[in-house]
Subunit: 422 residues, 2 copies
């Protein structure tokens, strides 16, 4: 077969010079470092332990809000949300006056590394767990709007629906050797990695992005048997990727924390209710974690956007919100855009972040708490910002220096393609 | 010998019911979780690994500013700085118009757990690396002002100076079996743990607080040979504590991050210079990390307090500082006191925090950068807030629930004394 192409390419102002080896980036959704620790301390991740010892292990800062699509878009583009435009799953489009899901690829304002790599000659495959994410990441890589690029983009959620014209491959279940898994499962994520192993083994791809889903992390603490089993499965697949000679980078989109009272029950600040009670009607609180997969989190996360009723004097509201116990940061629109690297036109008047064990809600009626009756673990704020950052190979000196500074999870392709001493 | 006393005691509003076993709390100064990870991944900390597996391992939130004395005072009192009054090593006393070191025990506003435990019948020993910290922690435990309490408080820095009247023990070098180590060394910290082992073995103490110094962490990254050797030594001493049947809790006062440009050289915002240039003279920037041990950090940390020139309009200065790249948070005095749980009367007009790889300085002339020419690693801000939190025993259900929420490093005595399922 042809060896992996090494033609350099530039995307979003960054230059990538891929090695003549398979390159794999894994994004473990919702994997705070504690999950790796719990599994490593119990000897359940020998391949990851080898990566940590022989390559590099540290922490990186994710993009805020610490949500899935925000960070997958950042990893895919190598850029912060101010560049790619994705600020969550859900936002208020002031132009149309509508609250809309942000899962259409048309919201993505930057080209992906995948499309650029494919055009430069790499055999690129993107595998996500969730179908909504697949659509975002497939932009410019495969499908009728990307003629001749020749990439693969599939999801485990809809593995059985993959078609050459739209996904770059079909008969995926046979290729992977496994049936389409249920989305509310650890299997949905293990399927992502097994698809990567199979695509690599069959030489269908030499440049892979494998992005799992955080069902297990939302439901189980790091030391839970179910989490340890899951990470054991991740490690086994990781071993099969490494055994094929791939350079592997592993990071996460965001962390995960328990968000409940010690006695049980979600620890929620119902921000729209509180604002209405204090200042009167007209407030609109947007929770960008909102998505169709409510069983994960009941639309409760640690980040919210507030749209003020007109004329909207932000300062007194900002001060009042900042004094609420459990609220950690409140920014006006332009400060949020600058400090958190967010696209100003997709924010509201205020941006609010909550503490390690606190989530922000809209009104009690708006949320279906039955979905999180067994316990709420969620993310979105500053305490889910730091994520693991591992490379299978030692770093070149310049990259070691950067890793010791303030590396971002969306630098992972730069590190995998340019940063390792091969 | 008498078994350890189990008489409950109350201090700073919290009740402690000690077990009939030796109880040991270790504070590993400047030990971000990455140090434990690097050593554990290389098999260098088998005893800590056993604690993580058979007891509990997680993360806890330290007190801000993430400095040594602030957090040692919090751990010693079980309370945030708003209660105990220690906000750093150094502050501007507006009453006297003087900048003063805060290392006199008279600045401590709350009783320590050590004094209360000793009065309730425990044989208490406090061992610190630095002498300045010993004096703070010895308050009410030993010395002429604590007659009849009968505690021990020694430092490795001045081990050879220990006297019964002032330290509760003498001939410490013979007891430990080691000469007084140099303070700028890993040995200064290992000596702390070995003193704990010896005091326990000789039945001189059954209730210990062992607080190391962060020379190694300031000088070496987690994966450096020197750090790995150091943590190997920590683990060996930990094993000797566990072998004596102690319940052990381990946490840290603060984390540690590289604070330099990728090309080398400290990444400093000289805040007093910048403010003077922008607004004119009269600004006083206080760096509470300032202490006599400059080789550690050159008085450069990620937290600063600003005193404005009279009449002191805080809002425009606050806005301007918050826009500086590398500054992450700026609070006025009362908001800082409330959000960061700090004593309002010991702050300035503004409190400023810096990013993961950024430190705040005063003026270029004020700092001796020769001390950190080899590289700057430091702490003080939000990115050094999260610290390891380990217990040698499984947690009772109520404490497991608290550990999963937002535990603080200064809850460690509560967890060790009340929280384990013995």
């Amino acid at each position: 077969m042809t060896p992996p192409a090494t033609t350099p390419f530039v995307v979003n102002g960054r230059r990538y010079a891929p090695p003549a080896r398979p390159a794999v980036v894994i994004c473990l959704d919702g994997s705070s470092d504690e999950y790796l620790d719990a599994a490593l301390d119990r000897g359940r991740m020998p391949h990851l332990q080898r990566m940590a010892r022989d390559g590099y292990r540290g922490l990186a800062r994710s993009a805020l809000p610490s949500f899935t699509n925000v960070n997958n878009a950042s990893i895919a583009t190598g850029a912060p949300p101010a560049v790619h435009g994705i600020v969550g799953n859900y936002f208020y489009d002031a132009a149309s006056g509508q609250e809309v899901m942000m899962n259409s690829p048309t919201f993505l304002r930057a080209e992906t590394i995948f499309a650029a790599a494919a055009r430069s000659g790499r055999r690129v495959a993107v595998v996500s767990a969730k179908e909504k994410l697949r659509k975002l990441l497939a932009q410019g890589l495969v499908g009728p709007e990307a003629p001749g690029v020749g990439g693969i983009a599939v999801s485990s959620e809809k593995a059985h629906e993959a078609l050459v014209a739209t996904h770059g491959i079909e008969d995926l279940e046979r290729v992977v050797g496994l049936p389409t898994p249920p989305i509310y499962s650890g299997a949905a994520s293990l399927y992502v990695l097994e698809a990567g192993v199979a695509l690599l083994a069959r030489q269908r791809a030499d440049f892979l992005y494998l992005s799992t889903t955080d069902f297990i992390q939302h439901k189980f603490a790091p030391e839970a048997v179910e989490a340890l089993e899951f990470y054991g499965g991740i490690d086994a697949a990781l071993g099969r990727l490494l055994a094929q000679g791939a350079v592997v980078g592993l990071t996460a989109d965001h962390g995960m924390n328990a968000k409940q009272h010690p006695g049980g029950g979600p620890n929620v600040i119902y921000l729209e209710s509180a604002l209405t009670q204090q200042f009167g009607p007209g407030f609109r609180v947007i929770l960008p974690i909102t998505d169709p997969y409510v069983a994960h989190h009941g639309a409760l996360g640690s980040f919210a956007v507030v749209h003020l009723p007109p004329p909207g004097a932000a300062a007194p509201v900002r001060q009042w919100v900042s004094e609420l116990a459990g609220v950690t940061e409140v920014y006006d629109r332009s400060t949020a855009a600058r400090k958190l690297e967010l696209p100003e036109d997709r924010l509201g008047d205020l941006v609010v972040l909550a503490g390690r064990d606190v989530v922000l809600g809209r009104t009690p009626e708006w949320h279906d708490l039955a979905a999180v009756a067994g316990g709420l673990r969620s993310h979105g704020g500053r305490y889910e910002e730091m994520v693991p950052f591992l490379l299978s190979e030692p770093l070149r000196p310049a990259y070691a220096a950067r890793a010791a500074g303030d590396p971002r999870n969306f630098d992972i392709f730069d590190f995998v393609l340019n940063g390792t001493a091969l």
